[in-house]
Symmetry: C2
């Protein structure tokens, strides 16, 4: 896992060149078809790339993004009407029957379909009109790392292609170096993980673009460390779950500089006053001061999930080691999960 995690910047750098023609073709399909709604079918880690898409394609490209409800295709045989929407299936292995069934229904209804997968010969790829290959090389660790980065890079590329702005592509070109800078924070991340070695449950907070990072961080913690990590938008958190917080309750937060950071700082101050033990991943010094701070490289906010997930992945990895667990052999899991 640690080796594959370290390959992420190179994977994304290659992808920026290799996947661009197909991504541009998908963007033309959207423009030419007057498409306004995108449906995304995905599970587990890949579903968090879909969460990122909700924000980036909404804010930058004006699209409505809906998560698929795969059971309506795979179990109930009552899919919604997909025609006129763009339907994406995101899956490292390309082999989960429920995700495949959504693309099958969409294609049979005439909707343009795209598979985003590391396995270009997979059943998901065969079910789609177009395939965008992650090109991440084999991912053997059960916990996905570099393929998640590749998936969110493809979503970001799709946003750049839809916008047609050269500046977006320039910003994307700088992302691999930001990811390398994030990898270089490992020693500090390892210390923070060791200090929290005893946690059994926690909340993971973020808002806006980084909400995807909170979701994926929480999943990595569950998979690798058995910590019951519950991710929340910092707004939704105030509508009920904040009742959980008492003296010593661990709160992890991701907060990038931008319109959401002031609200996050305000919330962290409330949680600190109730005794929460706070860890903050941020490129904003004010946010980092709200607890144990881990520095993120400065990036345009829309691309910030590309760097931010790396210290989060490293944190889960080192917390697993601190707990005496093997991050390469998580309990109860196999690499490929096929759900119907």
């Amino acid at each position: 896992m640690r080796t594959e995690l370290g390959e992420s910047p190179d994977v994304v750098e290659r992808l920026l060149a290799a996947a661009r023609p197909t991504v541009q073709a998908v963007a033309r399909t959207v423009h030419d078809g007057g498409i306004r709604t995108v449906v995304i079918a995905a599970r587990g880690t890949s579903d968090h790339a879909a969460v990122y898409a909700q924000y980036v394609l909404g804010a930058r490209n004006g699209l409505i993004v809906a998560p698929a409800t795969p059971s309506l295709s795979s179990l109930y045989d009552r899919p919604p009407r997909f025609d006129g929407t763009l339907v994406l299936g995101i899956s490292q292995s390309g082999s989960s029957p429920d995700v495949i069934s959504v693309l099958g229904d969409a294609r049979s209804q005439g909707a343009p379909t795209v598979a985003i997968t590391n396995e270009p010969d997979s059943e998901l790829a065969l079910a789609a009109d177009r395939v965008i290959e992650l090109g991440a090389g084999p991912e053997r660790a059960v916990a996905a790392t570099k393929t998640y980065l590749a998936e969110i890079a493809i979503v970001a590329m799709l946003s750049a292609a839809l916008s047609g702005e050269a500046a977006s592509w320039s910003e994307l070109a700088a992302a691999p170096d930001a990811m390398r800078a994030a990898l270089a924070t490992e020693a500090a991340v390892e210390r923070a993980a060791a200090a929290l070695g005893g946690i059994e449950e926690c909340i993971v907070l973020a808002r806006g673009y980084q909400y995807a990072t909170a979701r994926e961080w929480a999943l990595k913690l569950k998979e690798l460390t058995h910590v019951v990590a519950d991710p929340y938008s910092s707004a939704d958190f105030r509508h009920g779950p904040i009742a959980l917080v008492e003296q010593g309750f661990p709160v992890l937060a991701v907060a990038s500089a931008g319109p959401a950071v002031a609200g996050m700082i305000e919330l962290l101050d409330v949680l600190a006053s109730r005794g929460a033990e706070i860890l903050v991943l941020s490129d904003d010094a004010g946010a980092r001061e709200r607890g144990t701070g881990l520095e993120l490289p400065a990036q345009p906010e829309w691309l910030s999930p590309l760097a931010a997930i790396i210290p989060a992945q490293l944190f889960a990895y080192h917390l697993a080691l601190a707990k005496g667990l093997d991050p390469d052999a998580p309990r109860n899991l196999t690499k490929v999960t096929r759900t119907v």
Copy 2:
């Protein structure tokens, strides 16, 4: 809270008559406008009515349902293009600025907007073209109960109106009696809660229509009992979080008879073999045998969340009492939460 919870069947019964003209008018707007996509802005409990809408309006009415990303309106000032979609805001109080801002953006773009709220004079109601009033009477308990039932009843009514099927309305007319039958299971629910008085974390599983129930059950547990309750679709649960389950780990499940029940039984057998402590809410005897079973009244599956949440609410209420907590005064919370 317990008093208001008990009022739910009467609230829904009144609503079936009182709200029908407005719901029919919204359905005509959808048909006449050729609308295919519904965007829903909601927080907390109301967001789970939106989850129900994803399934019921997708499976029965062919609509694509997208949860709003309110921060794109309220913080980033970069809303997506709402025109051509139906935009619903669901909020008991009608006063959360982020939900209001989504409806404001949608209306200014020319999209039809509907407020579903218990407060017809609220800012949310003023921001919308049409208001569907919950008519639940004052809800003083911080933990929403009867207003959640009213919200999902309105979603079900919208589905019936869109389908134009008389049979759907007949099925809906029987829902209040199913809710009364669910209330009558209280003694068994109280015993089950007392037996689980020591839990500090748990997973809540469901699939399809009942996924909304799992989400709302988990929220009630967090608000009232401080149990870190993590809700999952039983498919998503296999893609990572299943790593959490070990000897004695508490698993709560909601499983209605229908296409999803066989997969749930299979998953519960896997979890039982790993030592999970299982509680099942179901109208299916086979599912109930997988652990401590609590019986749900038989209902058409699309309406099953209307009865199923009642024993779940009662369970959270009695678990709070078993833990020595006051369900009418949950920690850190106020009735109205205003997030931007």
